[in-house]
């Protein structure tokens, strides 16, 4: 193929991927009358910030954004606290036969369960425990969502660290835990960072469980606040689009930070990027 043809095709694909997102941006800054203009206005319109002002004046969205952030950070932290040692244990300690592989695979398989299967009993369990409609309930569930991901990512990163490093430290009388903290983790920093940055993407894109388990406004997360605006009877496109932009910014920021590890994250650590 000639390279001009190639570039033309690539640009076409790029346009198809990006144009819908660009359209969302324009709707969020258009006045109401410009939104439905025929022919559609792609560039020439008078921008306004009205929809964003309206969005934040209600107060609920700011609150749901805070909820999202709070839930995502705490569940990421918890998942790291539990998952990093597990990954290290599976990767570096002795296991009879191939138990480390078996356990690792089981951990991953919990992630493959369709959420709708566990969501009904989980809902009933949380209701009985009084954790429905609450942030602790969501944090607990998201920690479980993130854990398999953390374990698999970190196992991959630990695998790449030369064993000699730890052996030297252990020779000097360090315990396993001490070695992990003082020798291994500092070396695995990029991996830790990638995993930490990726987990909130996983959590903030989760919709089903948050939708079902939190009807109260106090624990609503941002995707939900959005959805309720979308499914409301009377649709206000400007506000809806502004809400969409607000909901996607944190995810894109995190994704930008984790760009180098995108492949690894999206494939649950199975493909090196």
């Amino acid at each position: 193929m000639k390279s001009t043809v190639k570039y033309a095709l690539a640009l076409l694909a790029l346009a198809a991927a990006v144009a819908p997102i660009y359209w969302l941006v324009t709707i969020s800054i258009k006045r109401d009358i410009d939104q439905f203009a025929v022919p559609p206005l792609w560039i020439h319109f008078q921008p306004t910030v009205r929809h964003y002002v309206e969005l934040f004046r209600g107060g609920n969205l700011a609150r749901s954004l805070w909820n999202s952030t709070f839930v995502a950070s705490l569940s990421t932290l918890l998942a790291m606290l539990l998952g990093v040692p597990a990954a290290y244990g599976l990767e570096r300690l002795r296991w009879p036969q191939d138990w480390s592989r078996k356990i690792g695979f089981w951990i991953l398989s919990t992630r493959m369960l369709p959420p709708i299967v566990t969501i009904v009993p989980l809902f009933l369990m949380l209701r009985r425990a009084g954790l429905l409609n609450s942030r602790p309930g969501l944090i607990l569930v998201y920690t479980a969502f993130n854990l398999p991901f953390v374990v698999w990512m970190m196992q991959g990163f630990f695998r790449e660290i030369p064993r000699e490093l730890e052996e030297a430290a252990m020779m000097d009388g360090d315990s396993r835990l001490g070695t992990l903290m003082r020798v291994v983790l500092p070396v695995a920093k990029p991996g830790l960072a990638a995993t930490v940055v990726f987990s909130p993407i996983v959590a903030s894109n989760e919709f089903l469980f948050a939708f079902i388990s939190t009807q109260a406004t106090t624990s609503t997360t941002a995707p939900l606040a959005m959805a309720s605006r979308v499914t409301q009877y009377e649709i206000r496109w400007g506000a809806m689009s502004a809400a969409g932009i607000v909901a996607m910014i944190p995810v894109l920021v995190f994704a930008g930070l984790a760009q180098r590890y995108l492949v690894r994250g999206m494939s649950l650590g199975a493909v090196k990027g």
């Binding site: 566990t118 919709f207 979308v230 969409g244």
Partner: protein, 284 residues
């Protein structure tokens, strides 16, 4: 006892917290839901499973889910692969093109649904607006809100959102290919097509398998986008298994029947994934 445990299973304490949490939040609910699905008004009962066999709507939802999965996967794979090959062969600007192509996949599903509502709306959407401007009659083009086009419209959204995922994995696979066999084949006078078929494809197989497998699992459980975009409608046109289970559980509060359905769905997912793996002869 504890000593032998410590000597031959030194890794156990490292893993226990993770395993316990996952048991409590995924396996226990699973077991619990088995129990609920076998419980009728008067104790043990098979009524929920008997009902499954006669539920036309469930069968329809199942058929639509499978159709959705197969069609979306085929298009996404073909497109993603083509794009991966195309972008891989680009010189300057490759990184830029790649980053742009990935954008749809990273958006929260809710945002994706909002975007496509803006596009598909028959009266005010940009799609019909553009067509009208070109002089095309749009009164019959209802996209996601008409019974006939709804499923196709929803599949198109999936293709837009998830082709980047296949593109991402496949182009990572292409980049990681060892160069020596490719060069050796070229030196021996193999045509580009021969190189592709006999060397690139076999080497890429593990990545292709993984990509297809991950995507299939996600497609079979599709919920978010459809729920926000069409709520399974109009009528029953875009109802999938997950939506139907959701409705049964949280609209009609029939948890027993919902559990029974989700088990059938789970079983089918496992069978589907297994046969896919066998089909592609994965050795892991």
């Amino acid at each position: 006892m504890i000593r032998t445990l410590r000597r031959s299973w030194p890794g156990v304490p490292w893993v226990v917290p993770t395993v316990v949490l996952l048991l409590a939040l995924t396996i226990y609910p699973l077991v619990y839901s088995v129990k609920v699905s076998f419980t009728g008004p008067a104790g043990f009962s098979l009524a929920n499973y008997a009902r499954l066999l006669q539920d036309r709507l469930f069968l329809q939802a199942m058929a639509q889910t499978l159709l959705y999965t197969v069609v979306a996967l085929a298009i996404e794979f073909a497109l993603g692969f083509a794009l991966a090959l195309l972008v891989d062969s680009l010189g300057r600007g490759r990184a830029f093109v790649r980053a742009g192509l990935l954008a749809p996949m990273l958006l929260p599903p809710v945002v994706v649904a909002v975007i496509w509502r803006l596009i598909y709306n028959p009266q005010f959407g940009v799609l019909n607006g553009t067509l009208r401007n070109l002089g095309i009659h749009t009164s019959a083009l209802t996209w996601a809100s008409g019974e006939r086009g709804a499923l196709a419209s929803v599949i198109l959204v999936d293709v837009w959102e998830w082709t980047p995922f296949l593109f991402l994995l496949l182009s990572a696979g292409l980049q990681a290919l060892p160069q020596e066999p490719l060069e050796a084949a070229r030196m021996d006078g193999a045509s580009p097509w021969q190189v592709f078929r006999d060397i690139v494809l076999p080497l890429l197989k593990p990545v292709m398998t993984l990509a297809i497998l991950l995507r299939t699992m996600d497609l079979l459980r599709i919920f978010d986008q459809i729920f926000i975009l069409t709520q399974g409608g109009p009528g029953f046109a875009t109802e999938t298994v997950s939506l139907y289970i959701y409705r049964t559980a949280f609209r009609f509060f029939n948890f027993g029947y919902a559990s029974a359905m989700s088990f059938l769905a789970l079983g089918l997912t496992i069978v589907f994934a297994r046969s896919l793996m066998r089909l592609m002869r994965v050795s892991r």
